[in-house]
Amino acid sequence: MTDTTTDRPGVIDARPVRHPGRWVALAVILVLLGMLVSSFVTNERWNFPKAFEIMQQTPVLEGLWKGTIIGTIGSMVIGIVGGIIIAVLRLSENPVLRGVSFVYTWFFRGIPRLVLLAMIGSGIGFLYNRVDFGLPFGQQLASFMGLSSDFTFFTLNVNQFSSTLIAGIIGLGLSEAAYMAEIARAGILSVDRGQGEAAAALGMNRGQAMRRIVLPQAMRVIVPPTGNETIAMVKDTSLLSAIPVITELFYQTSAIGNRTLLIMPAFVAVTAWYLIVGSVLMVGQYFLEKRFGRGFGTPSNKRFARPAGAGGA
């Protein structure tokens, strides 16, 4: 207080706190890492060149593209769109729609994906050989009234369809929608009530308020767990072999591994592909979060800057 200008405290030049523990930990980890690397080199059963070769084989690449990448994109599109619709239904004022949404989530969240896919692949085709798209009870109606047409517009051969990739994608998508619905519901509920009221006061109807005001803000909360779900889905596409869809990454690599007795290189190959796809997705997630964080300041951008940097494959 009584300082004169000459001895007022100036620029701070303080010694940082020492962290000896960090150096010890680093040393331990380096030793362990060294042991691992040396085992890579000395144990020829790892056989990384073979693993690298397997990664590039045509059936593996086809499995990666169709089963893993198309499978993930397709099922997540169905899952996200379906999930948001189910969440909106769940929050609607119509008790029938609320009930439908609840039962849907209850059913698809309750059964394992492996069981669901096996059921779609073999069970459904056994029950319904073909599905006719037309008027409800059109065939019964037509025979009752003695008409020649039976009101069928389009027939789907379930036996053939049920073992395709598309059937598998639909199965995974339906299951994912149940999880996404819960994520979307949490996102929608996280938006301040005043936002909906402000939209209503401007004369927007419920649909407009949801689409233009509430959902864009809910996305900020929805995107991070959705990235998580997408990365989980990359791995769950390996379940497609239960359909059975054989143009699938894990099915193809393990087939090669079993055939050539290169068991471990095959596992290394498939692990590497899953890690690469997952890393690319983390980068994408960073940009999505930035996009939907608009108007909420910079903290969210800062927080996720690091995973993206580590995500470069």
């Binding site: 301040d192 005043g194 936002q195 009221e197 402000a198 939209a199 209503a200 006061a201 401007l202 004369g203 927007m204 109807n205 419920r206 407009q208 233009r212 005001i213 864009p216 803000q217 939907f292 608009r294 108007g295 909420f296 300041g297």
Partner: protein, 285 residues
Amino acid sequence: MSETTSAASTAAARTRTGEEQPLVHAVNVMKSFHGNEVLKGIDLDVHRGEVVCLLGPSGSGKTTFLRCINQLEAIDGGRIWVDGDLVGYRDEGGHLHHLTDKQVATQRREIGMVFQRFNLFPHMTALENVMEAPVQVKGVGKKQARARGLELLEQVGLADKPNAYPAQLSGGQQQRVAIARALAMDPKLMLFDEPTSALDPELVGEVLRVMRELARQGMTMIVVTHEMGFARDVADHVVFMDGGVVVEEGKPKDVIRNPQHERTKSFLARMRTEDAEEATDTQQP
């Protein structure tokens, strides 16, 4: 169909109130929340171009009443007409029918509302906030909405901030954007729900200035406020509410300077001591 019913109710309102039809005509409005009676029969007429201030202690029901006018709350009893249209219902041979979601939205277009906590859309810039409703609700072209939006932002003194997000604006600036956003729908009535209560004291003035200017231009306004100076200077009519009823109403100089009821007197005395305390606070270095 809605035109014929609105014409019918306009006629009905006219016969009830004589030839000069108030813009807002509320009769015996009642509202309860879980058995707790918040409004116990409110009557209020607001004429075109009038500024009405609702005063009263918190919990007196003034905000609830304001929210009932544009159907953010549904009323349990009584009737509200805005510009001759029965709010929230249509009257068919003495039987009331609820309006659909779309019809309610149509009624709200005509009424602008400004909230205590601004409620700007945080994912949109100031200009996008102002343009949103004209484009989405009225189907105005983007170019035209943009021009009008910039004009409105200038009117509230924010011509230099069209591209700022709400988080980048002060409370006072946000509230002025919110006023511009409400005005963009060309409402015939503006509702203000404690528009300055969430603001730092030094930001209150800029918002009140915009509201004064709006009043001067002849906008019909219902303002819930604790700003006695604003009520005294700007209001044509003040209504003092307490415990869900209107205790006293009249010209501001009568109600504020010379209150008749005990409850009004004690409330105003309390407000005055607070004002005085605040004045001494600001005088201190």
